[in-house]
Amino acid sequence: MPHTAIEAQAEDGGSASKPQRIIKLGKTSDDIDKKSTNRRVKDVEICVPIVYGTIAFYLGRKASESQSHKWTVYVRGATNEDLGAVIKHVVFQLHPSFNNPTRIVESPPFELSECGWGEFEIGISLFFHSDVCDKQLDLYHHLKLYPEDESGPQSTKKPVVVESYNEIVFPDPSECFFARVQNHPAVLVPRLPAGFSLPAPVPLENMNENGRGDTKDHPLSQWFMNFSEADELLKLAAARQQVQAHIVKLRRQLSAIDGMPQPLKPASSYECT
């Protein structure tokens, strides 16, 4: 089916969409049929905003020397939507003192819970579906168990939450991927110009069959942080305004200096020590 779709596109190449689309052969080492004639959508990037981090609870009375905290490390969509359409599986690399420190989570929600006593850096490797990207993406997150302020005993009710916001960017995504996720809530897909035709979306082979992959009703969702770009934008805009005002002032001053007559120059260089 992909073959015929692509041929159809080659024929209507006379449309205005031509400058945007290039025929770029995908990796020929793959055996998958779709891949060998995969096209990419040029000058376009698909963006998947994610939040990853840890939530750690002090175990209180149940704490022991070696297990004082129960913590969860996870990767979720920034709007708590299902990431399963993009991410195939996630590998969490824990401290070697853990049993089987390489933990693979095959389906969303991509999270892992453990008990322990120590803080360390967790390696999070995201593996994507074959039509998305062949390369894995590595993230690192420092597991924080102890709260900033050391005042008094730790509470078992209030966890230590550290989250990081980031966006996965796929430049020049494949048409398959594009078509598949263009209406997906977890993915930011730019609007394509009119007349751009894509192959019909092909659903993934092993979609998440068991339950939902989104984290909207996750038990820990009450602790999730809110990331609003509006605040940042406001701050940045204000800062830029200030800087621009200063630039304007300086430029005015500089042009005034340049406009001044030069004859004083030799005298000043004489005075110059």
Binding site: L139, Y165, S228, E232, L236, A238, R240, V243, M260, S268
Partner: protein
């Protein structure tokens, strides 16, 4: 004591007698036999911890049981191939000259030059560029001069380059070897067969070598500069491509070097041309090209994080700025209450952040310009109230100016710490 000796002054009688008595004793104590006193004094006047030379050894004579004479004898026959008779001094012990061959004869090696017969020549070795006489003569000379091709090239009456001679000799030898061998496997290990002589490669190699050796110091420096530039550019590209194609960095490395080599060649012919390539290389490091090259390198990665993209763009934008300037930009960002790395790095936020950094750079440059102009013209201005970053600038300016200069720093010296930007500053 010695001084008095030198001056010829009489010593006191008592002292003289005392010295006379004690001197022999002390002398024998002080000065070891066999070494002059002054030399001994070089060691600091003390004996070394380990005796370097056993003093008694120095006066030892060879055992007198043997009778050693030196005789003027001819060289043994094996040392020389022709009838030339040479003589040398030989150490003869008890009337018996040394037995055996001349001790250095074993080093008299020669190259085994394979000679062909005429039939072999007819069959295998005829070549349009070489006559039989010439080839014969070549082989004679090779044997005579032990394959010293530079001498052979001078001796041959026809004008041939050393590479041509080598080519002919080696190809002939190979042909003979392979024809004489009963099977090809037998000679496959022979160095002549295993590694054939490659004329074009050799010519090229020697040409390149002479070029390198004949570079003037000026050219060498230029070369190094351009190579460093190219290396920087390729490294910044390589960082993006490293995961993708391992072959690519290698070719990238080779290409700039070879192109720079050619550019330098052009150098020797016409100096003005140098400006063009170096300008071309330099222009690629302008901000515009940097941005596009960063974007291109980001696109090379199949996937990346927004924060990574921002880092690359920031680096590209501040590639022309020194470390101090970068620190000042960061200080300015902090003063403005902006995080150095945005907490919510969306596309819009990152774009704004990048623009803000660029604007701060522009501002700092303008400030620097202004301070230069002011230093030149020795003017006093109304103190500038640009406080973020301005305090630092003020302090540095004071250092640069002379003692009696009127200060035109933006803020009074009391402000050692930059204060946050206030609304009143605008």
């Amino acid at each position: 004591m010695d001084a008095k000796d030198i001056l010829g002054l009489p010593k006191t009688p008592l002292a003289i007698t005392q010295e006379k008595k004690t001197r022999p004793q002390r002398d024998s104590q002080r000065k070891p036999d066999g070494i002059a006193r002054e030399v001994y004094a070089l060691t600091g006047g003390l004996a070394p911890l380990m005796p370097s030379i056993d003093a008694s050894e120095l006066k030892r004579r060879p055992p007198s049981s043997e009778k050693i004479t030196w005789q003027w004898l001819p060289f043994p026959r094996s040392a020389l191939k022709d009838n030339l008779q040479l003589y040398h001094w030989v150490r003869v012990v008890n009337g018996v000259p040394p037995a055996g061959d001349y001790s250095f004869a074993k080093y008299n090696k020669s190259v085994e030059v394979i000679r062909y017969t005429d039939e072999e020549y007819e069959k295998y070795l005829s070549d349009p560029a070489w006559t039989k006489e010439e080839t014969d003569r070549l082989f004679d000379l090779c044997e005579q001069f032990d394959l010293r091709f530079i001498i052979i090239a001078d001796r041959l009456l026809t004008l041939r380059t050393v590479e041509e001679l080598k080519d002919r000799y080696y190809s002939v030898s190979r042909a003979i070897l392979s024809s004489r061998a009963s099977s090809s496997g037998e000679v496959a290990g022979h160095p002549l067969v295993k590694e054939p002589y490659n004329v074009s490669q050799e010519t090229e190699r020697k040409r390149a070598l002479s070029m390198v050796l004949s570079q003037t110091r000026h050219q060498e420096r230029k070369d190094a500069e351009v190579l460093a530039e190219a290396k920087r550019i390729t490294e910044s590209r390589m960082a993006a491509r490293v995961a993708e194609e391992p072959n690519l960095p290698v070719t990238l490395d080779i290409c700039p070097e070879s192109t720079e080599r050619d550019i330098v060649l052009g150098d020797t012919i016409s100096p003005p041309n140098v400006q063009v390539p170096s300008a071309a290389v330099a222009s690629s490091t302008t901000m515009m090209a940097d941005n596009t090259s960063t974007l291109a390198s980001l696109r090379m990665l199949w996937v990346h994080l927004r924060t990574y993209a921002l880092e690359q763009m920031v680096q590209a934008a501040s590639s022309s700025a020194g470390l101090r300037t970068i620190k000042r930009v960061e200080q300015a960002l902090q003063d403005l209450g902006v995080d150095l790395k945005p907490k919510v790095p969306t596309k819009a936020v990152c774009a704004e952040h990048l623009e803000l950094r660029k604007e701060i750079l522009t501002l700092l440059n303008l400030q620097k310009q202004k301070s230069y102009l002011a230093v030149d013209q020795d003017r006093t201005f109304v103190p500038d109230t640009i406080s973020f970053g301005g305090d630092r600038l003020g302090k540095r300016e004071q250092k640069r100016k002379g003692p009696g200069r009127a200060s035109e720093t933006p803020s009074s010296p009391a402000h050692k710490r930059p204060r946050k930007l206030k609304a009143s500053d605008l």
